[in-house]
Each structure stands twice: as C-alpha cells, then as structure tokens.
Symmetry: C2
Subunit: 888 residues, 2 copies
Amino acid sequence: MATWVYNFSKTPKKDKAGLKNLLGGKGANLSEMIKIGLPVPPGFTITTEACNEFYKRNRKNPIGLDKQVKSAIKEVEKKIGKKFGDKKNPLLVSVRSGARVSMPGMMDTVLNLGLNDETVLGLAAKTKNETFAYDSYRRFIQMYSNVVLGVDHHNFEDLIENYKLTKGVTLDTDLDAEDWKKLIKDFRDVIKREIKKDFPQDVYQQLWGAVGAVFQSWRNQRAKTYRKLNNIPEEWGTAVNVQSMVFGNMGDDCATGVAFTRNPSTGEKSFYGEYLINAQGEDVVAGIRTPQNITKKARLEAKSDALSMEETMPKVYGQLVQIYKKLEKHYKDMQDIEFTVENKKLWMLQTRSGKRTAKAAIKIAVDMVKENLIKKDEALLRIDPKMLDTLLHPTLDPKAEKDIIAKGLPASPGAASGKITFSADDAETLKSQNQKTILVRLETSPEDIHGMNAAEGILTCRGGMTSHAAVVARGMGKPCVSGSGTIQIDYQSKEFKVGNRVFKEGEIITIDGSSGEVMSGEVKTIKPDISGDFSKIMSWADKTRKMQVRTNAETPLDTKVAREFGAEGIGLCRTEHMFFDEERILYVRQMILSKSKEDRSEALGKILPFQKKDFYEIFSIMKGLPVTIRLLDPPLHEFLPKSEKEISSLASSLGISEKEIKDRISDLHEENPMLGHRGCRLAISYPEIYEMQCEAIFEAVLQCKKEKIKVLPEIMIPLVATGQELEILKELVDSKAKEMSKKYNQKLDYMVGTMIELPRAALNAHDISKHADFFSFGTNDLTQTTLGISRDDAGKFLDDYVDNNIFKIDPFVSIDVNGVGQLVELACKNAKRNKSKIKLGICGEHGGDPDSIMFCQKAGLNYVSCSPYRVPIARLSAAQAKILSKRN
Amino acid sequence: MATWVYNFSKTPKKDKAGLKNLLGGKGANLSEMIKIGLPVPPGFTITTEACNEFYKRNRKNPIGLDKQVKSAIKEVEKKIGKKFGDKKNPLLVSVRSGARVSMPGMMDTVLNLGLNDETVLGLAAKTKNETFAYDSYRRFIQMYSNVVLGVDHHNFEDLIENYKLTKGVTLDTDLDAEDWKKLIKDFRDVIKREIKKDFPQDVYQQLWGAVGAVFQSWRNQRAKTYRKLNNIPEEWGTAVNVQSMVFGNMGDDCATGVAFTRNPSTGEKSFYGEYLINAQGEDVVAGIRTPQNITKKARLEAKSDALSMEETMPKVYGQLVQIYKKLEKHYKDMQDIEFTVENKKLWMLQTRSGKRTAKAAIKIAVDMVKENLIKKDEALLRIDPKMLDTLLHPTLDPKAEKDIIAKGLPASPGAASGKITFSADDAETLKSQNQKTILVRLETSPEDIHGMNAAEGILTCRGGMTSHAAVVARGMGKPCVSGSGTIQIDYQSKEFKVGNRVFKEGEIITIDGSSGEVMSGEVKTIKPDISGDFSKIMSWADKTRKMQVRTNAETPLDTKVAREFGAEGIGLCRTEHMFFDEERILYVRQMILSKSKEDRSEALGKILPFQKKDFYEIFSIMKGLPVTIRLLDPPLHEFLPKSEKEISSLASSLGISEKEIKDRISDLHEENPMLGHRGCRLAISYPEIYEMQCEAIFEAVLQCKKEKIKVLPEIMIPLVATGQELEILKELVDSKAKEMSKKYNQKLDYMVGTMIELPRAALNAHDISKHADFFSFGTNDLTQTTLGISRDDAGKFLDDYVDNNIFKIDPFVSIDVNGVGQLVELACKNAKRNKSKIKLGICGEHGGDPDSIMFCQKAGLNYVSCSPYRVPIARLSAAQAKILSKRN
C-alpha cells in the first residue's frame, strides 16, 4: 500500500528537493521547522502523489487514503490533547494546499474545520469565549461553503450586512454570540436553498470535502493560468496540509502576522513585516484592517502611530527575532514567514524562501556571500536569470495608473510610450523631428527595419514570440508587444480599433514588452539602474561558467551594446539585414532582376563596397573577438517591392517595365518560403552572391590588418542539408580567399562552418563536419522543421497546445529537449567523433533562454549566442548550468 | 602501384558485378566471352577507377597508366603477331568507352587507331589492298579529328563531296587509293588550319589522345543528361577498351552485323538481326546503306530481296547461331551482340544484355522460366518495375508525327489529347458534352479536382513531380505534364503562349505524361495491352513478396481501379478530397466561418451524411480489406474561396457580409501552410471536426455490418509530433466509438494509428507507439521537413541540386535514405521495441517507387501504399526487394 500521508514530525528521509516534490513546499518546510525545534502546531501532509492519483482515478481519492488520514488525525489528537469532532474538547484544523513551488493566492484554504453545532459548544466552553466560538463557526461555514460547496460568498456577506443594518452596528466585532447564532441559521438556509443539501455536520465529511476541494483547485482556471505563466508542469500536483488550528483572534494577547527576514524590495538586511492584534491570518492579507509594523524602526520610518509588535509584545517579538535568525541561518536564504500568537504563545505557521525583486535578489545574494552564509556558487544559483531583464530595460512606474486597452505577447522587454504610427517611413520621419513613436503593424517584415529602429517600441497584431518583430526588437533591445489579436488596424484611414475604441495616428500609447500590455496615453517609466552588486554577480558568473557568450548582432549600435553587456564575440551576424538599407536595396533588386550571371555580377559589384564597410565597422568594434558572419539566407523575393507604388518606382529606376518586375515577383513566389529557395541553396544556384560576400569580408579583413586591428572571421553557410553542399561552398570560400590572398600578397585567417538547422543536417553531422571548422545550431529553424511548425503561424494554435499540456512551454522559447534536443545531441556527438576540436555553438533564440542554456551545457556546446540585451542573462545562466552540471 | 589496366584474357577474379564495376559492361563481357572460348580480337581494358583518378587529378592521367598501357599493348602484339606503329605489319586498335551500364551513343569511339603515313603502307602491302588501307586511314583521321581534336566533321565531308563532284562520281566506294591520298592531304591542311597543329603521326600520341577523349566524354553534356535521365551516378566513371581491329570491309568475304538473341520488341524467341557485307561496324548503325536480315525467315517476312546472312555466308552463319545460343545459355538472358567477319573468319566484338520493351521483358522472363533457363526469382528480377507503367497507360503511337511545342516534367504517365481548357468548371461542362479536354493551369489546387477528373489530362506551368497536380493525377491515373515553364498562360484572354505561338481555348493539344512532351494537335495513341504473361509475372510476384501492397484512394473509381490492379487494401484515404465536392463545400465553409463551437457542430452535422456515404461506398468496394482513413489534414484556409466572385456568392449563400469572409480568410492566412495549423492540430483546436468524421466512419461501419459486409477501418491521425497529441485524439476516437457502440448496441472493431511525417514524431516513436495500433510513414511531408524543402517550391532549385550531384535523384521521387531513411529506420526500431506487433506502412509517394520499396523491405515495413496505377509496380518491386533481401 502506498503511503499517501505523513505527519509533520514523521516525514520520510529524503533530500530537500525530494521532500519538497513529495510534500510540497509548505509541508516540507513545516516538517523542517519541527526538526529544528520551532513551535509548529501539529498536523500532517497528504502528498502530491495522492493528488496525481486522485486525477488518475478520475477525481476519486486514492485507495488507502481514508485509513491513513484517520490514523494521522489520531496522532495529532494525541499530541495536542484534543479530539476531532469531540463535543467537549474539539480539535479544529486548517486545510491548505501546498505545491512544490509557492503559487500565492492561486488555491483555496479552509480554516476552523471541525466545527459543527456540537463542537462549537465545546470550543465556547473550553475557551470561555462564546463569541469567539460562534464567530469561528460562522467563518468556517462561509469559507467552507464558498470553497467546497461552491456557494458564492456574497450570499453570506449580504446577510451579515443586512443584519448589522437592522441592528444598527457597523463592525463585525460589534456582533456577539447570539447574533452569530442567528446568522448561522440563516447561512444554513441559504446553503440548503443553493445546493439542496444541508451543511455537513460530520467532521470527517467536512475534511474529505476540503481535501477534495484542494485537489480540485489544482486544475481550476486560476491555477492553470498561473502555471502557464510560470512554466509549472501540471503533473507536479499539490499536497494538502491538515494542521491543528491556533487562534490569533482569541483576544488582545493574540496576534497574527507575516514577515520577511530581509527587505524583499530592496534586499536591505532588516527584518520586515506586518501583524494584527486579535486577528486570524487571512485578515492580514485581506486588507480589511490596516496591518501594523513589526519593528519599531519600520514604524518610525513609516511615521505610523499604530504600535509595532516590538512595542506591544516585546517578549514574543524577542522570540520571533530569534526564530527568524535561526530560520535564515538554517535555510541560508531570505525567508517569508507566517506566525500566530495565541494567548501569548508564538506559533510558526509557515516559512518559505521569500519572493523578491531582481534588485533585491542580487543584493541579498552578494550580502550573504559577504556574511559567509553562502558560497558564490550558491549566490549565483539564487538569482533567476530571467529577472535580470527588468534591470536592463526601462520599466513602468508601478505607481502610475494604467488604462490597458489590449494585451499581446511580451515579445521584447521594456516599456515605451510614443505616437501611434503605421509605417516605417513615418516613424523615421517623426524620429528626424525628435518625436517618439510606437510603430503599429499587422506584422513586420525586413523592409520595416529602419522604422523599427526609429520607433521607441513595436506593436504587432500577428506573430508570436519569435516572429520577425519579436526577434528584431529583442535584437535592438526595443520593447515589443506582438500578436495583439484584438487590435484591428485600418491602414487606409490610419487608425486602429480595439473593441469600440478608436486610436488614430498621432495619439499616444504605451506598451510594456515585459507584460504584453498596451495602454492608452503615456504611462510613466523608470530608468534601469545597474548597481555595483550587478556587476559583481556578473564577474562571479564569468569566472564560473565554461560556455562562452556571444551575441547576435549586425549593426554597429547592437554590436556596441552587446560588448558593453559582456558579449565575447558575435555568434550570428545576419548579412541580409544589411541588404535592406535604402542606399543598397536598389542594387539588390537589380541583382535579383538580372537575366544573366554577368548582369547579376555587375549589380553585386555595386553592393560590394557597402558590405565591405559593414564588416569593417563590426570588426573594428569587436577587435579581436570572433565574428561569425552568416552569408545570405532569406529567399530573394523578400527583397522585392510589394506595393504598386514601389514597383512602379523601381521600374523607372531600373528602366524596365513594371510587368517584368511583376513577372519576377510571381516567378519567385513561394508557397512555403521557410522551406524554399534560400540559405545555401541560393549559392548553389547563384554562386556569385556568396562570392561577392566573401570578397567583401576578406577586403574588410585586409583593411583591418592594415590598421593593425585583429580580426577572426568565421564564415557561416546557412541551411545546409548535406555534406556535399558544404563541400562545394567551402571550396567557393577557399578559392575566393586564395584569390584575394594572392592579389594582395597577404595571408588570410578565417574559419568556415555551417548552421545546423535542418533535421537532415543534424542526422548527417558526421559527414558535414568533415568540411566544417564549426557548427552553429540554428534552433529556430531546427524547431520549425523538426516539429513541422512555422513560427510565423504558430500563434494560431500554440496556446491550445500549451493549454492541453502537449507542450509544457512554447518550443520557440525554450528548446524542445525531446525533439530538437535529441537532434542537437546526436549532431554534437557525431561531429566530435569525426573532429574532436570542432567548435560548437547555438545562435537560435534559445541561446538567451536559461533552460535552453542548461541544455547547451549538457550537450557540450562551446558557446551560446543571443540578442545583446540577453547577454547578461546568458552569462548568469551559463554559470548556473556549469554549477549544476558539477552537482549532477 | 594500383593496377589500371587488364588484358581481356587476364582479368582479376571477381564476381560478375565487381568485374563490371571495375571494367565496365563491355570490358567485362569481352573478358567473359574469351573465358567461354569465343573468338574475340585481343585487347585490354583501362579501368573505371582510372577514369575517376583522371578526374581526381584534375584531368590528368593516373600515375603508372603509361607503363601499364605499353605493356598491355606488347601483350596484344604478341598474341596477334602485329606491332603497334610497325611499318610492315602494323597493329591497329579501336578505342571505345564502356561504362558499368550501357549508355548507347552517349560516348565517343575511335577506330583504326595506329595508322599514319608509314603504317598505312604496311597495311596496304599486308592486305594487298591499297584502297582499303587509305580508306581506313582517312576514316581514322576523320573520326579522330572529330572526337579527339574537336574538328567538326562537316569540314571533311565537304571536302569529300567537292572531290566527288569534281570527279563526277556519287559514292565513296567510287574513290580509289589515289583519291583518298589526295583527300588525306586536304584533311591534314584543314586540321592544321583549325587547331594550329599537325595531325599526330606518333601512334602512342594517338592512343593517349583517344583515351583522354573517352575519359573526357564521361562528363560531356550528352553523357550528363543521359545519366540524369537514367539515374546513373557520376562517380561510376567509364572504362576504356583498346582492342585490335578486325575488318568487315576488306572485301565481299567480310561483313559486320548486330543481332538480338530474341526479338527485343515482342520478346518472341527468334534470332533477330541485321548485317552488311564489306562494311565497318559503324555503317550498320549509321544508316547510309540499308542493312540486310540475318535469317532467311526474317528476310521472307520482310519481303526483302537482299539476301540474308544465312544464305550468303551459311558456314559463318552456322557458327554465329552456335555462338548466340552459347551466349544466351551462359548469360541466361537475351543478348545484344556485335560481330565482324574478316575474310570469312567470325569475330565477336560485343555481347550485352539486350534492351527490350516492357512487353518483351515480360515475355522473355516467362519464356525463360518455361525453358528452365532461369528460376522464377530471376525472372522477377529481370523486369524493371518502372517499365510496367507503359503497359498500363495509353502511349503515343511511335509512328505518329509529333509537333512538340513544350516540355515539362513527366508527372503522371500516359498520353492524351483534348481541347485546351483553362478552368475546372469549363472542363466539367465540356465533359458533360462528351468533349475531351486537357486542363491547362498555372498550378492546380484542391478546388480543381472536379476539373481534373473531367479532363483527359493535366498540364501545369509550375510545380514539380510531387506538386498537387502531379500527385492527384497519378492518383487518378491521368496523364499529367507539370512545371512546363515555357508556357505562359493568360487566363483573361483564354490562351497560352509558347515562344511566338499562341494556343487558344478549344484548340487541341496532346500531352505525354511519360516523357513530359506537349504537342500541338492530336497525336495518335495506342491502348494498353495486358497480356497473360503480365498476370503470370504478377502472380509470381505476389507469391514471393512479403510486404503487402495497398493503395492511396478515396473515390469509388480509384478504389475499383486499385482493386483490379491487385491492391490489398487502402493505405491512405484522404478525407479532405471529399470536402470539396460541390454539394458539401458550402457546409464546409459554413463550418469554417462559424463563430462558436455550436455553430461549427451544426455545420458539421450537415457534412456528416455525405461523409458516411463516402465511407460506406469505399468499405463496400474493399469488402473486408483494411481501409486506412486519414482524418482531416489540410489547413482550413484551403477550403475558403479565393476569387471575388466566389466570395460574393458565398456571402449571399450564408447570409453574411463579404467582409466577414475576407476577414476570416485573412485571419487564416499562413506564411508557411505546410508548417501551419493543419493535421491533428485542427482537432486539438476544434475536436468536433474529428468527432464528426469518426461518427461518419462508425455509422458507415454499422451499416456495412447490417448488410453483412466485412469492414476493417484503421483510423489515422495526421501530423502528430508528440505522444500527447495522439493520446488525446485516440481518446476522442475511442469515446466516440463507445458512444456509438452503446447507442446501437453493437460491437465496433477498428484500429487507431498515426502518420509519422515529422522528424519529431520519428524521434519519439517509442512514446507515440504507446497510443498507436499502426504507423504509416508519410514520407512526402517527412521529406519536406527533414530536408527543409517545400515540394511545391522545390522546382526552383532541385535541378541545380541534381546537376551539382548534391542529390543523386529528386528526394521526392526516391526516398532520401541518409536523411529521411535514418528517421524511418529509427522510428521502426523504437516502435517495435515498445510494441512488437505494431503495423508499419508507408503512404507517401515513395510507396510506388522501386528503390524506395527496396528500402521499405529493409526497414521492416508491413506494407507499402501507392496510387492505383502504381500498384502493379509496387507488387513487382516488393517481390524483387524480398528476393534481394534474401541474397544479402
């Protein structure tokens, strides 16, 4: 028979993580507190496994649970000297959920369980406080009815309000035992009316109802949404904690409170919390009464008259201080604690690692190292890399009011306000007039890049976390909200609608790329503040990690930002972005419209000096750090004009007919451009394109050499599927290098490698590695092809997939370990088998995702590459990955 | 030192295949004939490896070749008693190419090599025939100059014509030694003028020139094109055969001829060939003189006066008959032989397996089994499965004249003529008037299916071998030429242009889907004739093969055809084709435009009876054979109208606004539909669609049950990437079955399985197989995703890929063993590890491709499924695969 139930003082021997997985965070911590001798009301935990079994059995309790719970109750009765359901000396319990990680407010709790028409008498007699007893009873009925029986709480509140009106009083505390007795009768009538059943009088029936409700709450909508937002797997399940009640509301020698062992907002090392005299725990959180400070210092700082606990209950306060210090020392982390004082006796109800801001996380970690409480490794693990984002971008002032008009995906972090503009050109024009804009588009394309660059932020109606807008915005470090589906743009009349509201060009909106919110008007933002502790943590991370961190960048601006953020090279320089520049796009189009190799070469010749200049600038900024240049990747049709106006203007520029252009556009049209004539396939058909790009690279290298700037170019061939492709194109690069080397009588150092972004390439890594100095895993495209999902179109169904638990998390955000991961590992293994020194990296969006970085460490990659603003995240993640890899 | 040269009589000990790979077909056969004691002029072979080395060394001869050739020549000299370059008794040789497989006319040959101004005197003296000697010399100069020196042959022909005019004669044979001497002088002047060099007099220089020319010819354009058409890898290389000359043109006791040991056109068992008295081998082929029959019987049948060899040279004829019988017995196959009679002595110059028509191949194979010459296994291997196609479809009358106006891809075999029509509706209208049409479209879409069905054949300007048009046409068994890029359609004016020619709607054209030719006007066709031998071969194949053969079919017509062709079930019934039917498309569109689940279900309810009827019909035809039904696969936008007219008509039918429809179309638009919201993803979002389809299937099953028709439905879920998807959707199928089973109180037997068509599915086969009764490999989509190539767009670069030898063959035609194949094998292994009895099949286009079928046997599949007209091909291929698998 499986063990579903553990008393707090008899939990199994497991490591901390194992215990938490089994008993949930709350249960594990209660057991831990007992172990270190803290005063905890006795109780027991029903395991997370029981919850999973409950769902497996189609929402029926696991076999054996009944017996085990009863025997656990017996033990609690023995310890506390009260009996569950006893008329004279009744044991009352709380029933609380407790998942592996804290999900605050996400699940339901029932207090005072065990009260009925008979036990309430016992409680009254025992406490000599009839009002307290009936107040507790009615609180229980309200809570239980709401949580377990599904009777809406307004039913009860209305009755109380009416009663108070009739009686002419305003506060609940003005009601006495008789009042509550009458109201309880009314409550029970309402329940009977609403659910056609009586309120249960049997205490075990009450208990099963509450346990079932906690289990059920694991899959209610609130919990599902919370899990989705926080990437918590559904199969973790929740535990249920049943604990004997202690009362903070039995008189003025009672109290209840919550506290943090350090300031969770700033990280400052000072005890911080709130309490209420004569109150139950929920009252502190509920906000009906204003809680008082715990320390005198805090009270004085807040200029409050309400006495602190330090002042009202100095002895108990002294105990609490001892306890919080003991807890922090024990857990070696800042704790979030809950306590109750019952007739001057202090009871600890909960301790857990306290949530904190990114800033606080960093300060606490650095301080605790100084205090010799934790080691640097531990400090690094304490910081959630994803939180760093908030330190690097402007954020909305939390105090500002927000008129939220729509939501989309939090595609690129940071907040920004500006005038609505619907075209890239307009954004650029306004920028030149020093006006801030938000570029609003159905979706963006490479042609919009100059406008994205000019705007403060980007808002799109279509596309996911890895849509063009999202990827480019992250690269630029600009806020972006993508796929905001409720916004309907009308380009003609230059306005968009959301519901009934219309927003015209020029009106100001604010977007928050960290939350996905779109707001009307300007919302105040706060500038990022990178303190000294931040750079200390980063330097620890750099000393710890094994993987290098590079960046995906192609503009001088991005490149500079990335270096400032600590990038150790460029892992992906996308040359096509350079093709869209206004000065050159005409030549690019001329090249595409050429009818012969000669014409094509002529047009390419005009692009050459621009490309050379681009590369020269990047090499100069990166001086000496490796720069991976990906040769042209997108299909040629992306460069051709789309509107009639542009076509007509291009026709007259090139002196050809519009029909010719349209014919070429139609020729080049592709059903599935993602799987089309792109990447190295372009160079198999038109080798002269890559020849020009190599010439530009080598020219730039030679110029740097002349100026004594160190350069290490890594030339990367995209979309290779076979060894032959790479063999042919490496030969092309090599012979161009030989030619240039001879022409200028200079030695040229460079590497040639390829992206592994097709399943076939991963499967044939052994063969392909013969021709490659390095592999860079292009996990964006590899995810698209391995899963058969177009990232541009995924928005239409990916939500359904996450909702149905088919994907735990969007595979474009965090690497799909079982699919894409298998291919990456296979490719690494086979490539190294052939060439042990081959350099391996990743340049997909996953390169900036902490979980994926963990995977990369395991797969044995040499570096990750990500957008500039993610470089610090990647540095920390890589350090964490290294630390954890040593532990496993 | 590698051995590059082998004398015919001293070839290495290898099996037949090994010998052929090394020495080429011709070289291996010459050596073989010597071994069995036939008269073969001595000579030697330079190996195919030498050819490859030649290219590896950048078109330089392999090291050591020089020495080995000289020593081989010495041996020939010894054997024949003549000396190479000797003034008195010169050895003359022929230099011929000889690849692993015969590539007729594709490469160059030089005869009479070894003649120069001095040796010609020796030849004249020795043969006592000065005219013969100088005629041979001038022939050598002409051939050598053309083949080796690159001097165009018209230069020489013009000189001869002029000379004959001046002399007043008409035939070459009217010229004597003195005439040839003069002409030879003129020839050499021309050569000097053209290439600024003298004609080489050194016989070894002559030899090296000729050997180099043969090597070079392996990569000339003709050879490349031939290889491409016949899937011959470039790395096979060609051997070079150097053989002492024998002369059929030294007088009337000399002759030369070619013969087949059986009739290559009909397969009839009768010696069949042609010869010429006093002629060199090339004369028979060149068609200057009309060759005579070899046998008297043939002469009489042809009503010819020119005496047969049987009559003119009865003794030699007798020897030849002995030899051909010996050869056929030795090779156990019909032989194509070449011989020369020099002064009454018979010399064998070549033997090889004779090319034959499909009809002849079948007859010869069946006859040889009857004659106990070969076993049934061998007979099955003798027939190229691809050739069967020509027996199943109408073919162009080879005697008819053809005005070819364009070429495209041979997308679906067979020939057809009809009136040009540009729309599916027009094709249908004309069909109802009993008029034959060819449907001409830029490309086809599922909306054109009724028109494709109505037309005799389909011609498209875009798309490859696996474009929509090609796939559907093959399924229907209709001729199709796809991707005929030179045709420019103008839908507006209802005409198409090819170059300067305009073809209007209603004009008649003919297409040949076996060759890809498009012809103006009607070209006569021949009906297919499936003889008794055909069905005998098929019955042998059926007894031999292990894999079952199913068909991809969804219409009653296709289903019937497939059964007639021997299909053992349906491997892929695509339900979406049923959605396009005129009666139902409105409801389908209504479903797609629904705003709620309820509306959607209502619309689906209207489609249900149609689907039920479809399934009922198919089950009835297949009675008892398994039928795999794939639930809805394509993205919903494929079903929405495209033209303004259709949109407006739909709007009024459904009573909604056009804007609403357009908005939905724009909503559903996908960048890469191949990787979009399709397959099982539709059912995750809208389970009611699959629920309706399952209901229709089970309703049909129950009706069949009532009528005592046996049914075995296999319900197939497409585009699965994860085990969870299949788990969810199997549950959907099962609960629908349970519901129906309960409702009608009937047991329902069915299987649930999935397509493996995404790399991730293949990689996670173990997990997915837990929920599957069967896997069907959808290798079309698996090829698209594994290689990252859209089959709709591949036409733009696949040629470049085959030309560059990156793909040996279009991966959509024959399975890419190293990429897709790896995944299929992995998936089979892992699925079987989990569930040893899982049924495995393939339903991609590859299911009808012989090479891919070979792969399927190796991978351990239970069945292949292909379009109806390919079923016989698959039956034979599966048998061959089984036979060969036993041998390896």
